[in-house]
């Protein structure tokens, strides 16, 4: 993992009283979280600031023996939600964990469209598994993206009039046809 130098700077872990400085502090935290999630392909984080598929506890820096207080973690996460770097996992918006968007949904949708175009998958049914876990998308950034986040991106393609989603008997998105 490549942390920016500021990650080893102890004052980063204490909530700064000055609002201007605190905003910068929060921005630094957001940058750190996004860059680590991108490096490690981490898609989800819970409301306590723990990554779901990984043991990494980003707010606990053992090297300099500093942790971020739970309240300040919440404040950081709230800021991320406000900036749409985090979105709620379900559509209602009250889940206790979030998807991390180091790219916004629109960019993800465009990237997927690019994959469909470059791998000649247009005009045929492609399963979501094939899209995110198949051998043909290993080098793409959205490889290993969780299904429900994929669905959110694909819905944007449907909105653009480029795709149709196929569902299984439980009304779960399982495949897509892009033209």
């Amino acid at each position: 993992m490549n942390f920016p130098p500021i990650y080893s700077f102890p004052p980063l872990y204490t909530r700064q009283p000055n609002a201007v400085i605190r905003n910068k502090q929060i921005d630094s935290w957001i940058d750190i979280i996004l860059s680590i999630s991108k490096q490690q392909s981490l898609w989800e984080i819970d409301s306590q600031g723990k990554f779901i598929q990984s043991d990494i506890n980003i707010f606990d820096n053992k090297n300099i023996d500093r942790i971020v207080s739970p309240l300040f973690i919440k404040e950081i996460l709230q800021n991320m939600i406000k900036n749409q770097k985090l979105i709620s996992k379900d559509d209602v918006g009250n889940s206790s964990s979030y998807f991390i968007l180091w790219k916004n949904l629109d960019s993800w949708a465009s990237l997927m469209l690019e994959w469909f175009e470059t791998t000649n998958k247009l005009n045929q049914v492609v399963t979501i598994y094939e899209l995110t876990s198949g051998d043909e998308s290993i080098d793409w950034e959205f490889h290993s993206m969780p299904d429900s986040l994929v669905s959110k991106c694909l819905r944007l393609l449907v909105k653009r009039g480029r795709a149709t989603i196929l569902k299984d008997e439980f009304n779960k998105d399982i495949a897509i046809k892009v033209v």
Partner: protein, 222 residues
């Protein structure tokens, strides 16, 4: 959600392909899981051997794990074969769809071609008609050509007639203009006076006869 409104159609083939792909996906998942399991068990085996370098061969657990690894590897092979089969099938279907399009294209082309050919059904009639028209045109041309040549002949005759008339008239004028009997000089130059009337007298008498003969010829021809 509101995806129902999109215009992209899902055909029966799409559904069939989807089913195939789903089974492919589950086999893919299975192979992933199995290879993970195998590498995990191999790791376990290594630890067992390291922990008991002397008597690991007698250890039932090591034997059991090794057997399991072999069995899993066997299953993995089978799964890979099946995966290849499915992938082959998918590409076959895809190719068949392309072939279908190709065939449809041929059919359409053929349809248009026959339709266009139908428009040529009375081509014989038209050609006969054209031939007739050409023949008729030739006739007309010939007729016209004859007529024109007739006019030409006629014009020749007119030319000849005019020439003849000219020759007939000119000598008369000369005769009239020559004051033969009244001139006083006539007596002084008798040689000149005698020679001139002699020449002019012979020509006018002969010409009118030719003229009448030629005029009668075209009348007979017509």
């Amino acid at each position: 959600m509101g995806q129902k409104g999109s215009k992209i159609k899902i055909t029966e083939q799409d559904r069939a392909v989807l089913q195939l792909k789903q089974s492919k996906d589950s086999i893919h998942k299975y192979t992933k899981r199995t290879s993970d399991l195998i590498s995990h068990e191999k790791q376990e085996l290594k630890i067992l051997i390291q922990n008991n370098p002397q008597k690991y061969k007698e250890n039932k657990k090591t034997r059991f794990i090794l057997k399991r690894i072999h069995y899993q590897e066997h299953l993995l092979d089978q799964a890979s074969d099946q995966l290849i089969n499915l992938e082959n099938m998918l590409s076959n279907i895809e190719f068949k769809l392309v072939e279908k399009q190709f065939f449809e294209g041929l059919q359409n082309g053929n349809k248009i071609l026959t339709k266009l050919n139908k428009e040529f059904t009375n081509v014989d009639e038209v050609l006969d008609d054209v031939q007739e028209q050409i023949a008729y045109q030739d006739e007309i041309n010939e007729a016209l050509a004859q007529h024109v040549s007739g006019v030409n002949d006629y014009e020749d005759e007119i030319d000849k007639e005019l020439e003849a008339m000219e020759k007939e008239l000119l000598p008369h004028e000369e005769l009239e203009s020559n004051p033969v009997p009244n001139m006083p000089s006539v007596e002084k130059l008798p040689e000149l006076n005698n020679s001139k009337p002699k020449i002019e007298d012979t020509t006018p008498v002969k010409k009118p006869i030719d003229e009448e003969q030629q005029r009668q010829e075209p009348a007979l021809l017509a």
